[in-house]
Amino acid sequence: MAIQFPISLNAINTEVASVDSGSLVTLSQNANEGLSTLNEAPYAMSEFDDYTHILTSGNLTNYYSSGNQYAPAYSGYSGAGAPAGYGSWTGSNFQYDGDEVQLYQLANFDPAGSTAPSLFLTFYRPGSDSSAFNNVGWTSLNIYLNQTNNNGSPDLALARTSASNWSSAPPSVNWVWGPSSSYAISSYFGTTSNNTHHIEIL
């Protein structure tokens, strides 16, 4: 949620999800800078007016697979799979739990039968570090359907803390929401391929 006046150090610490600090210098240096000069001295709390801590954002173009009796229908983006995964994602790498990670999968899995769909989010840490992840650091996954920017309100905002399960499976860390009929695969992310949606992780 964007920081509003009057700005408190507490509010900045809540928003700058990548660290936990009471130091304006530390918080400023870890803020997502964008076009501002947040990371450089002189540091000022006023620079955080309307600041939102977007860890990563970009456009997801989905791949759709109708699934079958032994595998759920799939719609979304995945970096896994040969030769170059399924769908595409334009966002940059970002910091999570002290590591540089990439958004590796955001996809809907819709099993045949009576089980409702689930949404899967995976971050992937390149390199050989096999240490476990912690479930920390970001607050909301925002999905803007069928648009390429974050104008307006997200069609779906998923809180990290509302995930039905979390798992650390190095080099991946995963969140799952659902099963729920609220995540219809026709919307998230379409029952045809090549639908583009804007995604941001705050």
Binding site: S65, N68, Q69, Y70, A71, P72, Y74, S78, A80, G81, A82, P83, Y86, F109, P111, A112, G113, S114, F120, S130, A132, F133, N135, R160, T161, S162, S164, N165, W166, S167, S168, A169, P170, N174, V176
Partner: protein
């Protein structure tokens, strides 16, 4: 395999408590704790849910992600049972597949509208090694087009729901044909509730489960029921050991393990027992 469960207070959890599984394979799973009516932790439900998530959302999901990349019109499937490979299925467009399709066209030209109009169709030549099939050389045909009403009627199959594929087995000696009617889990439960419950009680931990019944042209339904499911290699190996079932292949063969995409069991409604455990591998066909 070591599983360590812990439960702790967590203000971020919708229930105020989080349950955690640390698996010896390096995975950590966390879920909001399942609570009893008195708000104490239901340890059994928590542990069941954690194991379920580990299997479905990590192990099986990785398998499914992997097999999604294989071109479904250019595959070779291998079936393992009783420690050996018993069958090889080919996409109809492959060289091996085409040769088998020609035999079907020659002897059974009118059994279906087309054997190879759908590239996902699979064919195999094999000699059955288990009931209900006899020991004559057979040709197996799996169609990814829905069975026509006329075909289903000719075998007396009257289910409300089918999965998207069905099978025909052609006896190359007698020329008899039998139907493998493949139905979703909920249809099995609706039509054969008692058998469904007996089978589910016997199975290991399973996901994306479905069934098949064998029909002949006299309208008989065979007492052997096929059940197919996703499961983890470790849990199925452990289950086979615990219940005296023969594991379908050499557990030390990593080349098989990394290609497994589904498991199957045969249940006999007369004996009330699971008689066979099968594993299926899938890979791209190449000469």
């Amino acid at each position: 395999m070591t599983l360590t469960y812990t439960h702790f207070e967590n203000v971020e959890s919708p229930t105020g408590l989080t349950s955690r599984l640390e698996h010896s394979d390096g995975c950590i799973i966390e879920i909001p704790s399942r609570l009893n009516e008195d708000q104490t932790i239901n340890h059994w439900k928590c542990e069941q849910a954690l194991v379920h998530v580990h299997e479905r959302d990590i192990l099986i999901k990785a398998t499914i992600d992997n097999f999604r990349s294989i071109d479904a019109t250019n595959i070779i499937d291998r079936t393992y049972m009783n420690g050996t490979q018993i069958r090889t299925d080919y996409s109809v467009a492959t060289l091996n597949g085409q040769a088998i399709v020609e035999k079907l066209k020659e002897t059974w030209p009118d059994e279906v509208a087309s054997y190879d109009n759908n590239g996902m169709n699979l064919v195999a030549e094999y000699t059955p090694t288990r009931p209900p099939y006899n020991n004559n050389p057979n040709i197996s045909f799996y169609s990814w087009d829905p069975a026509s009403p006329e075909l289903l009627e000719s075998f007396g199959a009257h289910y409300n729901e089918y999965v998207e594929w069905y099978g025909l087995k052609f006896d190359t000696v007698t020329n008899d044909v039998i139907l493998k009617a493949v139905i979703p889990l909920f249809e099995m439960e609706r039509v054969y509730p008692q058998t469904y419950n007996l089978i589910m009680d016997l199975l290991p931990s399973n996901h994306y489960t479905y069934f098949a019944r064998i029909h002949d042209k006299d309208g008989n339904i065979n007492d052997n029921v096929d059940v197919y499911f996703q499961g983890s290699v470790d849990s199925i190996k452990q289950w086979c050991t615990s219940y005296g079932h023969t594991f379908p292949f050499d557990i030390n063969d990593q080349n098989i393990i990394k290609k497994i995409f589904i498991w199957g069991c045969v249940y006999n409604t007369t004996s009330g027992e699971l008689t066979h455990v099968k594993a299926y591998t899938r890979e791209s066909f190449s000469l």
